[in-house]
């Protein structure tokens, strides 16, 4: 590609090795990985258990917000709603209403960018923005840290883990580390790994429909989405039909101010999608079936039979993490939720 570069940078021997390795890599990759557009969940990173405990505490700590009433968990309900907000729009500190429906935190770590408009690159960036956004925590790092500093136990936990103790960076790191251990495999992951009995026939048929109708064009990869942007309304105008235009509807345009980015959103991950109603950035759709049919209409520009749609919905339900699946089926009043998967802990 660039002879000068290669000659300059890589000694011939290395180039040869790289070439052989690259070729071998492509070959083996092609042979080894299934050619499914959806990929199984990789193992979670190993993270210091103390850090996870701290991160979990902070995740549930309402002191992070200006009025001391809102925690991360307030809008990312880990037990009932698949890490998302069951309210159409989240309510931040001091009752300030947000502009979008809070998406799931469960597989956020595997998304290529954070927020519907992708304005944050990493989880840490995302946390930093949440802290200062009025509709979220509506506070400042200084205020937040001084509040936490009064808690001797939290301070000492920080000191035990981080050489520099309590700081904005370390608060973000602890929460993000916790969030990185949230992804949990679903029955469909087992299916992808070769366990054909992990899903039922209908569910498998639903997956075939999912691929055949082209849903998979956007909802693919490890996160079944979450790795690209797409315009909402490829065919047809969703916003016109819905009415009541809002600034948040402009999506990525709000970040880039690029005409092409109007109505463009991050394709959400469909993992745990059965739990994360209501749907879409505006939280306007309460059921999965309705959401699927809207997708057919505005994204695929086609219609499907009710039977096919039902199969697709069945398939989508296999994407629920097995840990959450159990907690859902056992979701009786007063029953403790099942413990969350934590990846391989140290």
């Amino acid at each position: 590609m660039n002879g000068v570069f290669w000659n300059f940078w890589v000694p011939p021997f290395l180039r040869l090795c790289a070439g052989i390795l690259g070729a071998a890599g492509i070959l083996t990759a092609a042979m080894a990985t299934s050619n499914e557009p959806i990929k199984p969940l990789p193992p979670n990173p190993k993270i210091d258990l103390r850090k996870l405990r701290l991160g979990e505490r902070l995740f549930n700590d309402p002191r992070l917000s200006a009025d001391g009433l809102v925690s991360c968990a307030s809008c990312h309900n880990l037990y009932g709603s698949g890490g998302a907000d069951p309210r159409p729009r989240s309510i931040g500190a001091k009752g300030v209403e947000g502009t979008v429906n809070a998406p799931s935190v469960f597989n956020a770590a595997n998304s290529f960018r954070q927020f519907w408009d992708g304005r944050a690159l990493t989880l840490e960036d995302q946390i930093g923005m949440v802290v200062v956004t009025p509709a979220d925590f509506g506070t400042t790092w200084d205020a937040l840290l001084s509040k936490l500093k009064q808690d001797a136990e939290i301070s000492s936990m920080f000191r035990a883990i981080y050489p520099d103790g309590l700081s904005a960076k370390n608060v973000s790191d602890a929460i993000a580390s916790f969030e990185r251990t949230l992804p949990a495999p679903s029955r469909f992951d087992r299916y992808l790994q070769g366990d054909a009995s992990a899903i039922s026939d209908d569910e498998r048929k639903g997956y075939e429909k999912f691929k055949a109708y082209g849903c998979v064009a956007c909802h693919q990869g490890v996160n079944v989405g979450g790795n690209m942007f797409q315009i909402f309304g490829v065919i047809g105008n969703y916003f016109q039909d819905r009415g009541q235009p809002k600034p948040a509807d402009l999506g990525r345009y709000n970040v880039t101010k690029n005409e092409d980015d109007k109505y463009v959103f991050k394709v959400p991950s469909l993992r745990n999608v059965a739990l994360t109603a209501p749907y879409f950035h505006d939280g306007s759709v309460p059921t999965l079936e309705a959401a699927v049919s809207i997708m057919f209409k505005y994204q695929l520009g086609r219609s499907a039979s009710g039977e096919d749609m039902a199969l697709i919905v069945k398939f989508l339900k296999t994407l629920t993490a097995e840990t959450l699946e159990k907690s859902m089926t056992g979701n009786l009043p007063g029953k403790e939720p099942a413990p969350l998967s934590r990846g391989r802990e140290k």
């Binding site: 300059f8 940078w9 499914e36 082209g214 520009g301």
Partner: protein, 609 residues
């Protein structure tokens, strides 16, 4: 002094400068961190690899070889992390750092285009996938339809086949002519839509829509691919790599310079060191020479010292001899004093003896001779054979008269006179005995000796000096000592004499006490209520020749001799005194002296001499 300090400071400064310059040069020759350079180039190379992989994956997605976009989205965070890592590695490394934000911007640009590409590609693929399906569906519907033979539907069927073919061809090789042709056909379809049965019309609308999408998205794709090709990521990375290399080369060059400087400087320093070494060697040589001379001088001095020592030794011997003489003369002096006392003591009984013997001799001469003469005449008168009565009678009466004189108190007087004489003689004999006892001339050797006996005989001898004083004796039961009695007596005499001289004649008091300090030590205390010793003098009283007494009265040797004798016996002598109140001498003596017999003999000899 000040000058020296200044010189020292200057020297220290000079040394520091020399070392500092050396350290600086060494530092400059090591400053370039090839490890760092390696890491920097590695990071750049990784970025380049990611970029290449991105390009490849864009192509793969474009060709439909990738069926997910993870390979196009995962690098987003990798690039971010690598750029941050690189900016850390570069630190404040001039020109290369300046292009880093540019690199980030260019990557951002690329990622934005790739995001658009993904969206576009998903739609295009979807439509490309859908168009043949829906075309088949429509054809099936036409065939099933009752009016399958109608010209409109027939045209639709033809158009469907053509448009589908054109669209697929257009997708592979986009050209405006095909596009225009497709547009025309689609427009026609759109126009004829009301002619189709409802179901077919709906499906055809979908077909039209998706072919439009394909045309639109394919154009977008072409545009995006062109844009992607224009983004100068590789050239920028290459440029940065070159800049890094250039910087590195420059630094290496600089290091080479400094290495040369260092070599020169080191050579210079070596010269200096050599010079100093030479000087050191020469000064060593000088020192060696000086040492030799010193040794010679030393030898000479030693010779001198030896001579002087010999001199001193002989002087010391002389001194010892004179000291012995002195001791001897002191002894003589005290003997002289004593002799005066002793003479006085002897003189008195001698007077007794003499006068009684004188009287006796006159008495005997007058009275006994008369009687003897008269008795002789009577005897003669009686034995002549011729009796001369008258003469006999006269002789008889004369003899009677003279015998009468011998009668009565005469013999009493003679006996008394003889008694007096004997008493005097006894006194003299006692005196002599005491004198003998005191000096023990008879037994000069070391012997067992009762201290109290020594004190008694000393008091006897010093009787004349102490007769007007009150003497208190407070003797404990003490173990006899092994000592030279004459010497110990001399000590007592000296101290008692001093005490007697110190006290006033009116109420002078001397108390002599003895007791056992422990089973092997005897203590003798001789205390007086005399004038005492000033604290200044107290330090000197044991010095030889120290005296406060008038010339002729004291030699100042008494206590020094006492001290020496007690010391030789392994004892101690201490004194405590208060001016005007009195003094007390405390002598502690071991029952067995530590000295060997020979020394004891010497002691005895000294005393005998």
């Amino acid at each position: 002094m000040n000058k020296r300090l200044l010189r020292n400071i200057l020297a220290a400064f000079l040394v520091l400068t020399v070392i500092g310059l050396l350290a600086f040069l060494v530092y400059r020759t090591q400053a370039v961190d090839s490890q760092l350079h390696n890491e920097q180039t590695t990071a750049l190379r990784e970025l380049r690899q990611i970029d290449i992989r991105l390009d490849i994956n864009v192509l793969r997605s474009r060709m439909g070889l990738n069926n997910d976009y993870d390979p196009l989205s995962a690098p987003v965070s990798q690039i971010d992390a690598l750029c941050s890592h690189l900016s850390e590695l570069l630190g404040n490394d001039g020109s290369t750092l300046k292009s880093l934000p540019e690199l980030r911007a260019v990557f951002d640009q690329k990622l934005r285009v790739i995001d658009q590409f993904k969206a576009q590609n998903a739609i295009l693929r979807n439509s490309l996938h859908y168009v043949p399906t829906v075309s088949d569906e429509i054809q099936l519907l036409i065939r099933k339809n009752a009016e399958a033979g109608s010209p409109a539907l027939k045209r639709l069927n033809d158009m469907l086949v053509r448009v589908l073919n054109d669209t697929l061809r257009y997708n592979l090789m986009p050209d405006s002519a095909t596009s225009r042709q497709i547009q025309i056909s689609l427009a026609q379809m759109q126009r004829e839509l009301p002619l189709y049965p409802e179901e077919i019309a709906a499906a055809t609308q979908g077909f039209i829509n998706h072919v439009h999408v394909i045309l639109r998205q394919r154009a977008v794709e072409i545009m995006l691919m062109a844009r992607l090709g224009e983004i100068p990521v590789p050239s920028l990375i290459e440029q940065m790599g070159k800049a890094l290399d250039q910087e590195f080369a420059l630094q290496m060059q600089e290091i080479d310079h400094y290495r040369n400087y260092l070599a020169i400087y080191s050579a210079f320093l070596l010269c200096i060191v050599f010079y100093f070494a030479m000087r050191l060697v020469s000064s060593f040589r000088m020192i060696a020479r000086a040492n030799q001379q010193l040794q010679e001088v030393n030898e000479f001095l030693e010779q001198r010292v030896r001579e002087r020592t010999a001199d001193l030794r002989s002087a010391l011997e002389d001194l010892k001899a004179s000291e012995a003489q002195l001791i001897q003369s002191e002894k003589m002096a005290s003997l002289g004093q004593m002799v005066a006392g002793v003479a006085h003591e002897i003189n008195t009984p001698l007077g007794y003896v003499r006068s009684s013997i004188e009287t006796l001799s006159t008495q005997i001469n007058e009275k006994v001779r008369h009687f003897c003469q008269d008795a002789q005449a009577l005897l003669n008168a009686m034995y002549t054979g011729r009796v001369d009565e008258a003469r006999i009678a006269a002789c008889l009466s004369a003899a009677h008269r003279s015998s009468g004189e011998l009668k009565g108190s005469f013999f009493d007087d003679v006996a008394a006179m003889l008694r007096d004489g004997l008493y005097g003689i006894d006194q003299i004999r006692d005196m002599v005995l005491n004198l003998k006892n005191f000096s023990r001339l008879d037994r000069s050797r070391v012997t067992l000796f009762r201290i109290e006996d020594g004190i008694e005989s000393t008091l006897q001898l010093a009787r004349q000096q102490i007769e007007h004083l009150k003497i208190t004796k407070d003797f404990g039961t003490t173990t006899p000592l092994r000592c030279s009695p004459s010497q110990i007596n001399q000590v007592f005499l000296n101290i008692i004499t001093n005490a007697a001289q110190a006290v006033s004649p009116k109420d002078g008091l001397i108390r002599i006490s003895t007791w056992m300090q422990d089973t092997s030590h005897v203590v003798i205390e001789i205390a007086d209520n005399g004038k005492g010793i000033s604290s200044e003098n107290l330090k000197k009283i044991f010095d030889p020749f120290f005296t406060t007494k008038a010339i002729g009265q004291g030699t100042g040797l008494g206590l020094s001799i006492a001290y020496k004798i007690i010391q030789k016996h392994g004892g101690q002598i201490e004194v405590s005194s208060r001016e005007g109140k009195g003094s007390a001498f405390l002598i502690t003596l071991p029952t067995e002296p530590p000295s060997d017999p020979e020394e004891g003999e010497e002691l005895a000899d000294g005393a005998a001499a």
